[in-house]
Point group: C2
Chain length 183, copies 2
């Protein structure tokens, strides 16, 4: 079954906000923390809430899925105390492309999947699809890594943002987070 995840920006939550940057277009209202919950669970009051579905892979080929499975990087590893939430919206012209055109930009030109593979298993990543939920962003990507892999994360995102695929990004926010010590 499809799971819908809510990222709630609020006064408190499991993940404390270290920094929030509007990279392309409008940012998000400032919040102190982010709570990550499954839709249907009790929702605390929040300044904003972004939702996305954990869906099937859209562009990955069997060869790529096999490569991804060889370097599993689960979320919630105890050492992965840093996280980054990157909400993205792509332009109308991206969504009007045909599947073969999108895939050509995404993979043969931008090497998106292969770039991600270079940083596994250090940087765990989960993609959430928001566009079909009528949300303000198309994708919410969630990353988790240990502090010693923060440079890996920066290299990963720098390489992705230099690709042709990113020409189609019209809104991008980056929220840097640290897991709160348990009470």
């Amino acid at each position: 079954m499809t799971r819908i995840i809510a990222f709630s920006g609020a006064e408190s939550g499991e993940w404390r906000v270290l920094a929030s940057h509007a990279l392309i277009g409008e940012g998000l209202p400032p919040v102190a923390a982010i709570a990550v919950t499954e839709e249907g669970s009790a929702a605390e009051p929040a300044t904003w809430r972004l939702r996305g579905a954990i869906s099937n892979t859209r562009y990955a080929t069997r060869a790529e899925i096999t490569a991804l499975q060889l370097a599993p990087a689960p979320l919630a590893r105890p050492e992965a105390t840093l996280a980054v939430l990157i909400p993205i919206r792509k332009s109308q012209s991206w969504w009007e492309l045909a599947q073969d055109e999108r895939r050509a930009i995404f993979e043969e030109t931008s090497h998106h999947t292969r770039i991600g593979l270079d940083y596994l298993p250090a940087v765990a990543r989960r993609l959430h699809h928001s566009r079909d939920l009528g949300e303000p962003f198309d994708f919410l990507t969630w990353f988790e890594f240990a502090p010693e892999h923060a440079d890996d994360f920066d290299r990963l995102t720098a390489r992705l943002r230099a690709t042709r695929e990113w020409d189609y990004v019209e809104r991008e926010v980056e929220l840097r987070l640290v897991r709160q010590a348990s009470a």
Copy 2:
């Protein structure tokens, strides 16, 4: 912007139910009529409500999109007084396939897109994506046609149901509808 459409089965509505068949798996509770509304508009009480997003194309190549655009078949043509709603759920094994595997079954093997082209512009069709909304079905397909093209519709669905893609369908309901005369 993504539009989410709701199909509400109720006592009254624009489309009167002529027949409801459970083709694979469980059917839907019987209703007299179907109302089609955009999410956000006022919702009348309903026995059940199925929701789907009008999304970007997922498998169509540029060549196929061009062919589709050469035979435009809009909804709401006055002569198209018959409609059919077909909710479908595909199996877990379908969703675990990679993009190249799904596309191979969908197109190179099943010729899904080309079969649909054979019945344009007689049979208008709109696909709604439901899976990422956490709905009980993955897709809701809506067809509209004039009574003289009812045979075309039957041939179209018979050909699709004979394809290898349909081996992955684990629930399918067909609701045959007629537009109510305006009051």
